[in-house]
């Protein structure tokens, strides 16, 4: 049974993180909100004991990523034309770099966000996706290379 205090903690701790992650995969804030809510409901339904906060966070991120996958499947089937027609100049002007990150592959996007924004290590990301560290390194490497190309060489780790 989850208490109000726990609900408060989960919402306060993870709302921003999940929203930002999900915005790498969906095209409007409403859809992202729906998915965050869905992830939180999934949290309510589970009754596992997490080892620590890191474990809890990894679980929530993984559920969010899976929900994004499902959303993409559903979305492509039903609303593909909607986005293509209305995708946006408005959004592009607001999120210039994010729009370029969104052009990367599914895994590259996640890796770039988790590494560069969330500050997760390659090992942590590898655990999250159940892949070897070299695979994550490869996602980051290729993702950065593509971003450099898209952003005309201005993506820089040190910049």
């Amino acid at each position: 049974m989850h208490t109000d205090d726990e609900i408060e903690r989960i919402v306060e701790t993870y709302s921003h993180t999940l929203l930002r992650l999900i915005m790498h995969h969906v095209h409007d804030l409403d859809a992202a909100q729906d998915i965050v809510q869905d992830v939180f409901i999934a949290y309510m339904k589970q009754d596992r004991a997490f080892h620590d906060r890191e474990h809890e966070k990894a679980w929530l991120l993984r559920v969010a990523i899976n929900r994004c996958k499902n959303y993409r499947k559903h979305w492509w089937q039903s609303k593909r034309s909607t986005w293509e027609d209305t995708s946006g100049e408005e959004r592009q002007s607001q999120f210039y770099v994010l729009d370029e990150v969104k052009k990367l592959s599914f895994h590259q996007r996640n890796a770039i966000y988790l590494f560069y924004y969330e500050g997760m290590s390659i090992q942590q990301i590898a655990h999250l996706f159940l892949v070897k560290e070299g695979t994550v390194g490869s996602w980051l490497h290729r993702g950065k290379a593509k971003l450099k190309e898209q952003l005309k060489g201005v993506w820089d780790d040190e910049a």
Partner: protein
């Protein structure tokens, strides 16, 4: 630009009304789950139907394939879950772009098992440390962990070692030249201290596979204790398929066995892996450790042609991105070792040309490849359920 990205993301946040919506949804769910549950008849009917289908399917299968019951050693039917499959657990060759090297050369590496043209047998093991979601479930207790670390310290002939404990009480070995720790699920990693590497650089990475091979041979000659195998089987896998970028290698070494099946298991699940730092010097050593004590059985393996037919008929295949199944550029057998896998069992990996070549963007030439997986165990010995 990284900062610009971070600044843009800072602008995306859950405001108070959004958070309130989340709280309400969660509280509503909590209240609803307190109410007594009523059985939904449709669920019971579905479960009954599933059981009948499974039993009936097994009976039909027994009739059609009597050999599955009459094999000398009865083999259990392997039950695979559709969602347990994580392609990341099957190695590192994913999709990539190549501009000049022929695909067959690009993907090929030193695999100790050729693609069979007649039935061969390979072991299937139960993954006793399987986790549903990839959570940490270490096979090492504290005492066992210390023992494993000591064993590896001796294997690497480390001097002046000390067992220490991290904040979670997990043991690690500290020595003058680096630190060895238990990887959460599957092994032990030793990382050299940067100052040690500076003073004692051991060249590892290079631009070509031949140069990497030569570097490893130098290590064998000059630092023989580092590689704890009598007859090392060396496999160098090209990781970064985008040839314009710096080259990355997966370097794994295992014990060569006279028995081809054992040689393959050593290569897949009893290897050591070497990693280089950004200067190409040996920086860390990883010993993956898979618990292979629970062998389910020795299963007959499809021939390459049988597996290829399954691929092209799209029969029991796993993939993430669609490819052209008529354009197979490379194939090999690999063990599935993801944390979520029910079994460590062999799969055929087919690398084919991707349908979506758009990742190439402005490149004038090249191809994008994707990988498909087909269970290598003959079809009558496994079943995939949702």
């Amino acid at each position: 630009m990284k900062h610009e990205y971070q600044r843009e993301l800072d602008q995306i946040y859950a405001d108070e009304s959004m958070k309130q919506r989340f709280r309400l949804a969660m509280q509503t769910h909590a209240i609803e789950t307190e109410k007594p549950k009523q059985h939904k008849p449709i669920v019971s009917i579905s479960v009954c139907a599933l059981i009948i289908m499974l039993v009936f399917g097994w009976m039909i299968d027994s009739l059609v394939n009597p050999s599955s019951n009459n094999a000398e050693v009865p083999l259990a039917k392997l039950i695979l879950h559709k969602d347990e499959f994580q392609i990341g657990g099957l190695g590192s060759v994913g999709y990539g772009v190549q501009t000049s090297i022929p695909a067959s050369t690009l993907f090929s590496h030193n695999v100790p098992l050729s693609l069979p043209d007649k039935t061969v047998y390979l072991s299937v093991f139960e993954n006793v440390n399987r986790t549903e979601m990839g959570e940490v479930r270490t096979p090492y207790t504290k005492a066992k962990g210390e023992q494993v670390l000591r064993e590896y310290s001796e294997r690497l002939k480390l001097q002046d070692t000390e067992i220490l404990y991290d904040n979670d009480g997990q043991p690690y070995v500290n020595s003058l030249i680096g630190t060895m720790w238990l990887r959460d699920q599957d092994g032990v990693m030793f990382t050299f201290h940067p100052s040690y590497i500076e003073d004692h650089p051991i060249a590892l990475s290079a631009d070509s596979k031949e140069e990497v091979q030569a570097n490893i041979e130098n290590i064998q000659k000059n630092v023989p204790d580092l590689i704890p195998f009598q007859k090392p089987w060396i496999d160098i896998i090209y990781m970064d398929m985008t040839l314009q970028q710096s080259k990355q290698w997966q370097i794994q070494i295992s014990e060569t066995s006279e028995d081809p099946a054992q040689n393959f298991i050593n290569h897949q699940m009893k290897q050591m892996m070497l990693y280089a730092d950004e200067n190409g010097n040996l920086a860390s050593i990883y010993f993956p450790t898979y618990d292979l004590r629970k062998q389910v059985g020795n299963y007959p393996i499809k021939t390459y042609e049988e597996a290829k037919k399954d691929l092209q008929d799209q029969n029991n295949i796993f993939f993430q991105q669609e490819g052209n199944l008529d354009e197979i550029v490379y194939a090999e057998i690999v063990y599935h070792t993801a944390y979520r896998a029910t079994y460590y069992m062999p799969y055929y990996r087919f690398i084919v040309k991707a349908k979506d070549q758009s990742i190439l963007m402005n490149q004038k030439s090249g191809s994008v490849y994707v990988d498909y997986y087909v269970p290598a165990v003959q079809n009558q010995y496994f079943q995939i359920i949702e």
